[in-house]
Amino acid sequence: MIPERDHVALRPEQATIPPGHAWNRIPVIAAVFALVGIAASAILGTANPKQFFFSWLVSFLFFLSLALGALFFVLIQYAAQGGWGIVLRRIGETTFAMLPVMAVLFLPLLLGLHDLYEWSHAEAVAEDPLLQWKAPYLNVPFFVIRAALFFTIWSFIAVLYYRGSRGQDATGDPGISARLRRFAGPAIIVLALTQTFASVDWIMSLTPHWYSTMFGVYFFAGSFVGFIALLSVVAAAMRRAGLLDTVISPEHLHDVGKLLFAFTVFWTYIAFSQFFLIWYANLPEETTWYRARMEGSWMTVSLFLMAGHFAAPFFYLMGRTVKRNGATLAVGGAWLLAMHYLDLYWQVMPTLHPEGLRVSVLDVAAFVAVGGCFVAAASWLMRRQALVPLRDPRLAESLAFENA
């Protein structure tokens, strides 16, 4: 039996949602939203299945990327033995614990492979030498096997880290932190590879003639900005709701804000580099993807992304005061979450609507359906657990953290 470690920096009742608190109702409210969204998607989707699958894909990718960003956030802190973010780790753990849920939400897409992916049509491949050349990779059975593999690997890592952290709450065994730290380095490599291939399969292969060797890191950059934005919103909302308001301090918010600022710049660097090299070389097989996004109303969206995903948050998040205040930080986070959705929308939708931006009610329905399931499951998990890793060896360090 593992000996009991009695050094508890925080009592469990300081770090749980108290009975009767408004947050206890979130799972039910979100589940109602999910049901409404699913019903609306089913009813409207039968009339327009192509639009449904594209809308579902965007919303699926949005919430999946938040979960993958959360997994990276927690893994990197284990690998680097980071101390400051321990009080925020349970938010990340709850988010990546949604990866098995995302596997279920992926299933509807399997019904729409023919609506989504040109390479899944035998007759399209038959008259296209390029698609024939890519057929050993881009074919339906292998696509499904890869998807199963991605979700198996992600769920395995997610469950391992979630169970480990919850187990430490119960036993206080510091050996769990050491074991998870040793596994974190290899897990980051596996995550980087699977995330890259998943972005190629699910987004890049929408336009199967086009390729970009930077696409994986582009998807990663967006996913990490997305999760940090979510983290800033959730942490600020918790403090406002009187949960962890003495645990998460302006010092922690400040660091979340710095990460948000830094990875907004990183996303811009990657997004621009991908565009810049293709634009400069001007090779027809590479420029098609950007050509589609530089015409008509898609060009307006492209320019809006430059302003909204880079310029505005860059100057907004630069100052110290904005990052140390929950409300102002959450405004920046919510804005960047919206921009992250728009970024994915901009990557996916021009394949369906090359003529220009066509917002559909199915976009809303799919977002409410996927988001409702995601929020319902995550908030249900939050009710059942401590909101911070109660007996992590570095919890005291994190509680006392101050920016120099």
Partner: protein
């Protein structure tokens, strides 16, 4: 403006130097000197003491604004220089692009922005600290040599409105100073 004030006090005395044995003594003494309303003084330690800037009541440095201004200047300069060269002074068709092909100008714009911001940070810091300074009246003190080893100091300069050679010395002694020394001007 810090840059406009004279470098060192005029008058017979430079100020008073008090030596403390531990970082904790220094920290608490700084709080008291701050609360006594002194403005022209400094603390000296062999290593950074966390929270000392709060204990001293230091205002935030204006350096970030210098860096921002320099960074924006550099970026604007880089962009305008390329614009002028490519679109006005020496228009050349390069790989079929328009004269004013703004994406091609982003790398240089970015690099000049970073360069100017970095130069602003380094030289702005030196200027705000009035460095380089080749000598300082504090170096007359023999005990001050230990500031890079194992001793902690507070120096209060004589041009502080609240400075008084005997009263200020007594205050520092009452705060637990190991030694108090009146330093002459050069």
């Amino acid at each position: 403006m810090a840059l406009l004030v004279p470098e060192l006090p005029k008058g017979p005395h430079y100020g008073i130097l008090a030596e403390f044995a531990t970082p904790a003594d220094l920290y608490h003494a700084c709080q008291r000197v701050r609360d006594a309303g002194f403005t022209r003084w400094d603390a000296h330690s062999p290593f950074p003491v966390h929270g000392l800037e709060t204990a001293m009541g230091l205002r935030r440095s204006p350096l970030p604004w210098i860096v921002l201004g320099m960074g924006l200047t550099g970026a604007a300069l880089g962009f305008v220089l390329q614009w002028w060269v490519h679109a006005s002074a020496q228009p050349l068709v390069i790989s079929g692009k328009p004269y004013f092909a703004w994406p091609a100008m982003i790398p240089v714009t970015f690099e000049l922005g970073v360069l100017f911001a970095a130069l602003g940070a380094v030289f702005g810091m030196l200027a705000l600290n009035r460095l380089p300074m080749h000598n300082h009246p504090l170096f007359r003190s023999k005990v001050f040599e230990r500031v890079t080893d194992d001793a902690f100091f507070i120096s209060i300069e004589s041009w502080d409105p609240r400075f008084d050679p005997s009263a200020t010395g007594k205050l520092l002694e009452s705060l637990g100073a190991r030694s108090v020394e009146l330093l002459e001007s050069e």
